[in-house]
Symmetry: C2
């Protein structure tokens, strides 16, 4: 870049975006041709297609299949810089975003789109035994635990311990919980069914616990019922109105009405609650933004914070009482539309034009349960089964960011469809540690072959 | 499995294989129809196609693209069990292999194929700053360091520190070192060239240090020269007769003859030496096997250990003075042939037939440097350039274990070929830690934008 260009660039309105998820990335992409300078800050160097993260956790897809390097996606936008780092503070008066290690970036407009993290409703100690699913590392961790449980079950002779290893509890019956439970059932009952010697993986129990009286609570009741039936057909035990009260020593305790029940399970997966990411608190403490009870930022009709017309919050982190109704759900569709709206709004501001307030166009909701099993709630039309499954598949491939990701995901899904195989079933990271921790619980109870060796020729 | 089958199975000759690499896996596959019972033990739940590991380290392929779950690969072999665990001892008298957590497995024949690990020639403290490349975790670690160095360089204003971040030193000019250096050059000079704002990645220096007087020492001299020229065309600085004497504080010190030189580099990759894996010592201490100076086990013409006709060592862990000459190289081709030979030998023994001793059929060697650049040494024929590259590509896809891996690798390579993109460029695991450690070295020297913010409309 020549010095004169640098100067030109310096005089442009500077839009700083924190977070490269659906909200932040779509805003950045749409601002690529606007007469502004854009800086996208993220702790990660890639955009993650979170709706398919459960497929990484269950060994169907690789992390890179659903992740796209931010620099690569934005390479054509010559007005855009990408900074990898962690924002620790915002100074709204000086219009400066501060990162770790003494890096500061000035902004004219700031878009905060850092999303949400797991919420254990005040029981953070559960997170160790019941990990959640928000990042690639979370997915790798879940995958390691799920696959290690089968490996440990294959090795033990202690039948009670074996049972605990073959129990998989998914907590939370929203889309992520439903998709996780369905895929886990397919993994155990089909993919792995002829691969072990000492266990029958078809006997693995997949138990889905949901606090409300039906799964997929935001969907129409008919679809909740259809989803439940599909799950049960796959072999998932669906327990609704089940409030988890404790997770300790690999035992899940929950209440169904007055009844208290317990399940021994080495693998417990959390898909229940979300709370605002750390930037919510920064905006509350340092900028004076109003937060809701899970820490999300309450925004104006143009997604800005009250009294800060140049600081916007979009995506899952925003609490936007759409049309005066309840907050919009934390979905990719909402975040994408808000990201595109941001680009539209800022371009209008820079050109000193009027802009409309944000209006969410609800195209409906989709959730997949398994092979040929999905539900689609298009408001005017409700679908279930094969057609919903086909639409789900098409939509997810369509929205994947990079062309090679679309191709690779299609091939992996085709391969899985025809062979029932899942080829990303790798136990990586702390690979032996998890297996040995599980085994250590019952060390001494492992299988010992004591047969007399045959005579060697 | 019914009880009578279990009894039948118990009377079969039991072959225990430790290690699911090329040697162990090929032995297990070939024994699938033999009248024996097979148990394959590995610390990992997958076979790893190590020759392509450098492509994971440089963001071209995903781990699962070059890894195949052992259970999936061996699912059709009904006489075969897979055990995930770590062998800690061998009792040759009782014919028992002992694993962690009190698991013991009897054997009639034992095949040890656990390969090799990095060797720092007595300087193990170098491993922290100059990681090697043997496992998926090693590759993810290298990928994280390589990509984090560019991210940190983008952020710093300290020109000396920036230079150190843009220097990449590869130590060792064997196939792995050559392939790593060539791919790193393509990554820096092509893939990333239009993705950064503050750095020109084409100015990154890739320096390959080799102790011998030419790269690819086992190849014919003409091919070493061709490989050097190809590397230099890609922008790699090739330094031969360069003996590394120290790695400390991100400085590599090496001697060229009498001259002592130093290079500042935040990223230093080790591809120089290998030593026997831990099972070599177990065989030496507990079974009395003879070891060579890097701990490999010296074997008889039938790959057995002297005085232990039912314990065999194959693959990289074996030192086999083929035809009385120097030991066979530690390549996939040697391990595959030894694995197949094992199956042949054990089947002959069980059927009380004579078996030949092992004979290695040398089909030649292949190493790739970059796009259209490879060398092939078929002894009777030496190739370089486009044709060698094409053969290399074909051979590697052909030998990949699973069909979906072949397809996905073809697509990723095709995508990379036509677009120069590498889409598995994810910084995962301790993602911010590495970046912040690198930045921490020069905290305070990072870029601070102090421009006056423009007036917000």
């Amino acid at each position: 870049m020549s010095i004169s260009n640098q100067n030109d660039r310096d005089h442009l309105h500077h839009v700083v975006i924190i977070g490269g998820g659906f909200g932040g990335l779509y805003a950045a992409q749409k601002l690529g041709k606007a007469p502004v300078k854009v800086t996208l800050i993220d702790r990660r160097n890639f955009h993650l297609f979170q709706p398919l993260l459960y497929q990484v956790a269950t060994g169907s897809l690789s992390p890179a299949d659903i992740a796209s390097p931010l620099r690569s996606v934005l390479a054509k936008n010559k007005n855009t810089s990408v900074v990898m780092g962690e924002v620790v503070d915002i100074d709204a008066k000086a219009q400066v975003v501060k990162l770790k290690n003494n890096l500061a970036i000035n902004y004219d407009s700031l878009i905060v789109a850092t999303g949400v993290s797991h919420h254990y409703f005040g029981n953070d100690q559960w997170s160790e035994q019941a990990p959640g699913l928000k990042t690639i590392e979370d997915a790798i961790n879940m995958r390691r635990r799920i696959l290690s449980a089968f490996e440990a079950a294959e090795k033990t002779h202690d039948s009670q311990f074996k049972e605990s290893l073959m129990n998989f509890v998914v907590i939370g019956g929203g889309p992520t919980g439903v998709e996780l439970a369905g895929t886990l059932a397919e993994l155990a009952h089909r993919t792995l069914s002829d691969e072990f010697t000492n266990i029958d993986t078809r006997k693995a129990r997949i138990i889905l616990l949901e606090g409300a009286n039906r799964v997929l609570p935001p969907y129409h009741e008919d679809l909740s019922e259809a989803a439940k039936q599909s799950l049960e057909k796959l072999g998932v035990e669906v327990r609704t109105s089940a409030m988890v009260t404790n997770i300790e020593n690999h035992v899940v305790t929950f209440k169904c009405g007055e009844e208290v029940e317990q399940i021994n399970a080495q693998t417990i997966l959390w898909a229940a609650g979300v709370k605002a990411s750390a930037m919510g608190k920064v905006l509350g403490d340092r900028v004076g933004a109003e937060l809701d009870r899970v820490g999300r930022v309450i925004v104006q009709p143009d997604m800005s914070i009250a009294n800060h017309p140049n600081i916007y919050v979009i995506g899952d982190l925003a609490n936007y009482p759409h049309q005066g109704e309840r907050p919009l759900p934390g979905t990719a569709a909402v975040a994408m539309q808000q990201g595109e709206y941001m680009a539209h709004l800022i371009e209008a501001k820079v050109k000193q034009r009027e802009a409309d307030k944000f209006y969410y166009q609800d195209f409906g909701s989709l959730a997949v349960i398994g092979r040929h099993e999905a539900v689609a709630d298009f408001k005017f039309l409700r679908l279930k089964g094969w057609l919903a499954w086909f639409i789900w598949t098409f939509v997810h491939i369509y929205y994947l960011i990079e062309f090679d990701n679309k191709l690779v995901v299609m091939i992996q899904w085709g391969w899985n469809y025809f062979t029932h195989r899942r080829s990303a079933r790798l136990i990586t990271g702390r690979y032996l540690q998890v297996l040995e921790e599980m085994e250590g619980i019952k060390a001494g109870g492992l299988a010992v072959e004591t047969r007399e060796p045959a005579q060697v020729v």
